[in-house]
Symmetry: C2
Subunit: 572 residues, 2 copies
């Protein structure tokens, strides 16, 4: 390929509203273009990166025996009603009212794949089945962000497995899991599989594949000591040693008018002369359990509640005669179940609401002034919390989710009469499912963020996703016929060797050429300069390792091809 034929036009100006450097790069280099908020076109250069990512996904999933298919985007609303997800995912579903019916634009395809596959799953002999598709999804995102990171239309590689029981489901899960690790390695990303929460997809065991990245909207907790990793919703801190409760004090109640909530209460108490700080306040939060019962959750005032699965925060109308803003655990154990985070054991006493309007109590002691029915992890982990496995301090890493794998089990098949197979004994049972997703359109952005310059004006794409592996440029080429001829010959030989090369053949200055080539981002540059040419040498730049070598002209194509192989094997 020659730059003169490329549909490419670099932009010098920093694009407005592009906060992340990867987003700036993708706009400046004409990889993508915004059609409207959260909706992007992939221009030819961007489409090439995307296609290369897709090919890698296909190769690795084919390798573990998954078969590619293609499901529709337009789903009849009935199949979403059957699983109750029309309500559960209502906040992000795009509905379509057509003359021909009511549809949902699929943001995920568990329902649709069950419709497609069930007629072929009659007996245990038909299982396991592993399938996947690379397909466009739609989500009515309230907040589109960071270019390709959070969009309303995006491409996902979503896989599904169907099995006879939990064990074979786990084996299928493992096949996808391994393929995912290979995929992310090949696209150049260090993706960490971390334990995660299932959210609206449901199921039991699941992992998010997280890439540490400054454009991340998520965090995961990592223990450098033992390797424990979990995303912020799923992570649990290890227990800290408890301390004995204070025996030499008594609770004292202060008048704290108009001081509901921790922060303001602390100020009011301090003004009244009490020795408290945010960390010694007890947050007492009313929750509603699955059966509708009220639960009181206790945690330190400086921590954030991680609402336990199946529970939710109580709404005002559900609070009955609990005094909102002034709830305390004292005297409550007969009327409500009290859950406490283990951290509640780590102080001799606590301050809390006094269960009456405008009053707080200081000096409340666990087991004396209030009781706890059950201890349970209730707080969102934070930096330096102890690892639940080894106790070493956890580190919170800002990160992007690039993939997610779920052991769904019977979550969907259990509620659908046609999602069944007959066992060896002739029983009709629901099949065991797994589901797996890679955010394909997000991947180029994450790669660009990692391999691009902080200014968003240069990138070195990992070799397997680069639009062109090698860029050949003659320095001062417009003047010197030798330089032009050598550059062209090298380009042709490298291409003939099976490595995609781009020749800079435009009538532009060396400065413009180099700036544009840095946006196009070949990991290898082959620079033909008049001076080195006099010594029959050309320069090969390994941009991934920032190494430059001078090579005799006739050895350059082989050297470039070898370097390309070396870069490839580093990502395998």
């Amino acid at each position: 390929m020659r730059t003169s034929e490329l549909i490419f036009k670099s932009r010098r100006e920093v694009p407005q509203d592009a906060e992340a450097s990867s987003h700036q790069l993708l706009l400046r280099g004409n990889y993508i273009r915004r059609l409207t908020s959260g909706v992007y076109s992939f221009l030819p250069l961007g489409y090439q990166v995307l296609r290369r990512v897709e090919r890698i996904v296909e190769e690795e999933l084919d390798r573990v025996g998954a078969s590619e298919l293609l499901l529709p985007a337009l789903h009849p609303v009935e199949i979403w009603r059957a699983t109750g997800r029309d309500a559960k995912m209502a906040d992000v579903l795009f509905g379509v009212e057509g003359k021909s019916g009511s549809f949902v634009l699929g943001p995920t395809h568990e329902e649709a794949v069950i419709e497609a596959m069930s007629p072929d799953i009659e007996s245990y002999r038909d299982l396991p089945k592993l399938v996947y598709q690379i397909q466009t999804k739609f989500r009515d995102e309230p907040r589109a962000r960071f270019g390709l990171m959070r969009t309303r239309e995006f491409i996902m590689a979503d896989g599904y497995s169907f099995d006879v029981d939990r064990d074979t489901m786990r084996a299928s899960y493992q096949r996808f899991y391994e393929a995912y690790q290979a995929i992310f390695r090949r696209v150049g990303l260090k993706a960490e599989p971390v334990e995660a929460d299932a959210g609206s997809i449901g199921g039991d065991v699941n992992h998010e594949f997280m890439v540490a990245s400054s454009i991340g909207e998520d965090h995961f907790a990592r223990c450098r000591e033992c390797g424990y990793q979990a995303n912020i919703e799923a992570a649990r801190a290890g227990e800290r040693a408890g301390v004995p409760v204070a025996r030499d004090i008594e609770p004292v109640t202060y008048s704290t008018p108009n001081a509901p909530g921790v922060e303001i209460a602390v100020k009011a108490l301090q003004a009244a002369g009490a020795e408290v700080e945010v960390a010694s306040m007890l947050k007492s939060m009313l929750l509603v359990g699955e059966a509708g019962q009220l639960v009181l959750a206790l945690l330190p005032g400086d921590r954030t509640l991680n609402v336990p699965r199946g529970m939710r925060l109580a709404e005002d109308v559900e609070m009955g005669d609990f005094v909102k803003g002034y709830i305390g655990p004292q005297g409550q154990s007969s009327r409500v179940t009290i859950l406490a985070d283990p951290l509640v054991r780590t102080r001799p006493s606590w301050a809390s609401g006094a269960n009456q309007e405008g009053s707080h109590t200081v000096g409340l002691r666990l087991g004396i002034d209030f009781n706890v029915d059950r201890f349970e992890n209730l707080v969102v982990v934070q930096d330096q919390d102890p690892c639940p496995h080894c106790g070493a301090p956890l580190e919170l890493v800002r990160s992007v989710e690039v993939g997610h794998t779920f052991q769904l089990g019977l979550t969907y098949s259990g509620m659908l009469a046609h999602a069944r197979f007959s066992t060896v004994d002739g029983q009709e049972l629901p099949y065991w499912m797994g589901c797996y997703g890679i955010g394909v359109t997000r991947v180029p952005a994450v790669i660009a963020q990692q391999y691009g310059s902080p200014e968003g004006d240069a990138v070195a794409w990992p070799v397997e996703v680069a639009p062109y592996v090698v860029s050949v440029v003659g320095v001062g080429a417009t003047k010197d016929n030798d330089v032009v001829a050598v550059a062209r010959r090298l380009h042709d030989l490298i291409n003939a060797g099976g490595v995609s090369a781009l020749l800079e053949d435009r009538d532009v200055s060396t400065g413009v050429a180099m700036r544009d080539l840095e946006l196009i981002g070949s990991p290898i540059f082959c620079v033909v300069g008049a001076r080195s040419l006099a010594n029959k040498m050309v320069e090969i730049r390994d941009r991934m390792h920032d190494r430059t070598t001078l090579v005799p002209i006739e050895k350059a194509p082989a050297a470039v091809i070898a370097l390309s192989r070396e870069l490839t094997s580093e990502c395998r």
Copy 2:
């Protein structure tokens, strides 16, 4: 690949509601599965055919220098308002009301590609540009039909060209046109480019690529003599010789109460003793022109009106004091423009409405009893009409539209301020566009219709789109170890030779195996039988030409590979 690993399950029963044999085949062979009316999943076997078609499209469009990109499906409604097509295509547009805005699901992408490309088209130096995408489209089809033929969600390969003037637009058009011919050849279809009407896309010159097929919903007219071809809306018949008008008769008016319209009027007139037939009645139809003026169109009673471009049928309220059901051309020339088809010259006299309720007049003569302002082709062509070029009889061919190419000219760019470039002289002018589309998901159905059995239980896919080029099957293989070993070895050698092979390795009878393999449709079968094996021979079946040859075992892989090449070159 082995059949035991294939996600495939043949169905013996004839699928309900599948009228066409191609639709039956695609359902029986598990190529596709219906999710809801007009919405299909491509199962793994069908997806392979689809992908092979897509690869051919990509190769041929890349060859003519078009660059692949990817535009979104979700279009902000504003860009459709800007071209007025939100109204013009309202009957098929799926609208999406999201929390994040109002969208249209793109059924075509002229608007979206202009948004994507315009920022890169600043001056004449940036032109021409040829781009294309393979992308999912949506249409709220009132009548989904024939499986993949007319669906609500489908994949199109849509291309767009941008040029400085009409001549270069034509050159770009020619590049797509030639690529299309190559694409259809390679997928095994004889697609005829026929002159066509522009419909809601607009523009001037355009061609439909039509494949003669019994599942066609369209017709095109073809002259076997001179090669003239046009679709039914665009085709014009050649002129027939006129005849002198009758001099020896006078018009006679008959009372024909309650007899509006041609068929019923003929009966009433015949009952009253007049000598008339449907072909000698004059249809007099009121039209409304672009400026709102009334136009009277005259054509023989046995022909169908082809409403001229820019006109439409008048509605009842627009007819003023014209007597609906009894209009005749006599005495009208002062108040309305009269257009007549040249066929009006081919009879000495005509019968027509008498311009008063309940009366018809017989014996009306052109130039004496009524006048015509302009002669113009007004009738839909029919079988045996004379060719407009050579006069030979035209033939009407039932056909499927698989592609459509348009010279749009300034149709879109002319109304959009940002669809402009600066010329060599510094003028700002709208660019000249072309647009081009192939109905990718429709192609496998058209191929299956042509290359499948009338019963919908067997197909021989053209070699470049076949999921597997060769199927290797051992006859009586379950019993005979030699047969099994030879079949496996041949399969491996053929695959190693770069030709995709499928090995029948299931524990099923020869009858079941052969029936399933005929559904999977490799164009080449390699049959290893115990009897021929005794003579160290195997059977190679060329299913495209219905030829069987016996070949020595050791020569079989080379023979199969050579046959595959031969079949490929026949489609180039």
